[in-house]
Assembly symmetry: D2
Homo-oligomer: 273 residues x 4
């Protein structure tokens, strides 16, 4: 593994974590996971999400010897419910002997319409799950202060949203992600920060990685593309491209190449006449 | 070749075309070309650019059996000079028996400071080079009307700038590139449009490809990155990612996932009270 | 008053609220307030901010018969401190018989370096101050869920940041401000939402108002401009312009005028070949 | 006149120039012109645009003692036609004894669909009209090299488009407008540069002026707003606000106020491991 992503006790070879929902068929999901290059997939463990209308269990369609499962608490709207579902996930995965039994992706949403996370319930649930021995990967808004509180509460990874779940807008506020990175990596440069949600296209993934985050988690952008399998390829390549681009030290932006800065030659102030 | 780029009589397997200037050493250039995955490299054929201070010829460091050379007229500031240099390139490459002898990347700049192209001299040079039997790949600004004139003048490919050469700003005006595509591909969807210049990072390449252009040409973004070889990897992956992402049919952008459009719920007009 | 801004029991004629800190001199502040057209100025009531090195009290330089004072809790980093300072402000303003004695701008920051607000302490302080009879105008991040919690806690106005205090970046995430507006004005269209912090130039104020917010609060953009008085003029005009522009129902954005949408003619998906 | 706009022999008190087309009624146009605060209105002089279906002449509805008319060549698609129409305008305005008889707004478009200007025909027409004694205010794309050529051809003012006519997208490429300003004002700081076309809302006008341009010309943004008269007010205020904001020397943009630059604290390069 040349450049592994370490989150708590887990080590992943791919920096792309992929969801398992919203696919047209289980077969399509299987192929998309494979082509995404991921070795970690997140699974909603609430019963109504795990078992489909035909009574089939999603987990039966995932090669659990290949992928580390990351159980998530999708569909939970308060701390109590999220903690309950996280424990359910642990049980399920322990039964499968999957290494994902000891961690959880915590989602504690505030609203079914916008799917935005609830910062206050999220902090509360993080504290409880950490106390309960979980490695908590916590989905949150891009608010840097909430992000810092979540790390202080013991989260193994903070995962700020680029934009609302399923909105396809990419990282809307790079400034906030930068401040999140500054806070979360201060004196702790290996602390994993993952952009979770909002990605729409491959360039969004690359641009997120170029901010210096450690990984990207996505679902809808692949599952609801017109050609999900091809988009899975695109996302795999974009994640690697963005990581390498960030590591490579890009050229500065300038108004034109020989200008010393983007504003050279710009008259920014005219003395009062 | 699964998804080749066809430009006139040439067929390329990679959609990334890479320049050969500005590298610290010839060895670094050789490795960067290889890692970029390109099969087409562009070379300035003016003597002062081809031969270095030690009297070494750049072409001696490029495997001309592997890469199609694309001679360019960098350093030319009017049509007459550009036409002369293009002919010089043809001679040089004929001598090497390289398939690039019959085409040229036309650069006809207006200003050494900004390196912006001169539309009027560029149109003139295109007409003369087409008459002279060249396949002309023409560097131009993102002005859609100039782009259309250049195609009408017989250019084999129009190559609008994303932003000024070496500025690292990516595609500044996606609207103009979209109108260029609309004009240049109207009734001729295979006509090759290539974003040339301005790219700074991998996400810029992916974003350009997601607009539907057929390829990207770059130089400084690799050559002047802190780690050029790693950036060459990044650019190779980003170009593939962007192509696939465009082909995959991305999800729409929305204010949030369940909103029917990015503006749903937005009160855009308040009747006079 | 043709289009007053109503916040709780207060009615303001201007939609621009202006800070009183960071001016070179008291005289400059006085003139800037006047030229900004505001009728409401916010004042930090902590002793070390109110009294300068020469022992002069800021309030002696503000015409309290002309401006409604809005005491603020700048310099407070937890709920307890903020509540204490808010009460101090009430006492001070009661003594001056200023109508601002019954309200407060709540700032509860998390970090002296970034000056970002602490959502959790802010919610706590809001609850306490509302219980204490204050009209609370609450500074917060642009997180829509926190904004909704603050309204539910009884805030008279929620004031999301456009970008960090003093950063001059304007509204960085219009999407979040739009969702804030959707939440806060749902079934309550007159509820006042004010962008507080981050504004750098006049266009930022106009753009914020065009999102449909009810007002803008700013300080540094005027006080630290090279010519603060002229910038005060600019901000007054921009606030009115943005309000009118929003009320006027702007033309839609299009790729070009005869395109039915910005994406018309754009080939967004190429079927797999 | 505190801060007049000088274009050749003309001096205007307002920096907003307004079009006269696309209004629902002549009365609405009259009121919109008045409320925009302009003292210069542009009028299409082709017969089919000047005379309406009822045989009424637009000029009969404009107070030519109050406004300097700026005849324009809208509807012309080559240099020859544009020159002919410009001369027709001169005749018309000489008959009215309006000071606008000696200047012209040159529009030489390439395409009825996009309404984009044709740079090559525009240069040609500029040369002819300058030779013919006109003061030429020339509409063009934002291509800085074309802009420079037009000034060199003798244009009294160069007027780059912010975005396509009627598209409502504002200034899409501030980088190009900045380079236009650098070229056109080099050694000639009073040379008037006016953003013409593309404006949608008040903030667009303010943002354009904050780039340091000397004025803005618009039409559709007012005429097709839901409430054109109110939008005329907005545009008047926004133009003044943007001018003052530019003159005032805005605060710099930063990641947060105490950061020394927007990128402070940002890890932009990770040494190869």
């Amino acid at each position: 593994m040349p450049d592994p992503l370490r989150i708590g006790r887990h080590t992943l070879s791919s920096r792309l974590i992929v969801g398992t929902g919203k696919y047209a068929t289980h077969a399509q999901m299987q192929q998309a996971l494979e082509r995404s290059g991921t070795d970690c997939v997140t699974v909603a463990v609430r019963r109504e999400r795990l078992i489909d209308a035909q009574g089939r269990n999603l987990l039966d369609f995932i090669d659990t010897s290949r992928y580390t499962l990351l159980p998530n608490t999708a569909g939970c709207f308060n701390a109590e419910d999220a903690v309950r579902v996280a424990r359910l996930g642990r049980e399920l995965l322990s039964g499968l002997e999957n290494p994902g039994a000891d961690w959880v992706k915590l989602e504690c949403l505030a609203d079914k319409r916008t799917l935005l996370p609830d910062p206050i319930e999220t902090v509360k649930a993080t504290e409880q799950l950490v106390a309960d021995g979980f490695e908590v990967l916590v989905y949150t808004s891009d608010d840097p202060i909430v992000a810092r509180r979540l790390k202080n509460a013991g989260a193994a990874s903070v995962m700020p949203a680029g934009s609302p779940i399923g909105s396809g807008q990419g990282v809307l506020n790079a400034n906030n992600i930068r401040i999140c990175l500054e806070y979360l990596k201060e004196g702790d440069p290996e602390y994993p920060v993952i952009v979770d949600a909002g990605v729409g296209a491959a360039s969004d993934v690359a641009a997120a990685m170029e901010l210096g985050v450690d990984g990207v988690l996505l679902n809808t952008a692949i599952a609801h593309a017109k050609d999900p399998l091809r988009m899975a390829d695109a996302m795999r390549l974009a994640c690697e491209a963005g990581r390498l681009s960030w590591q490579s030290g890009r050229i500065p932006k300038r108004l034109y190449a020989t200008a010393s800065s983007p504003d050279e030659g710009v008259i920014t102030w005219q003395p009062a006449g």
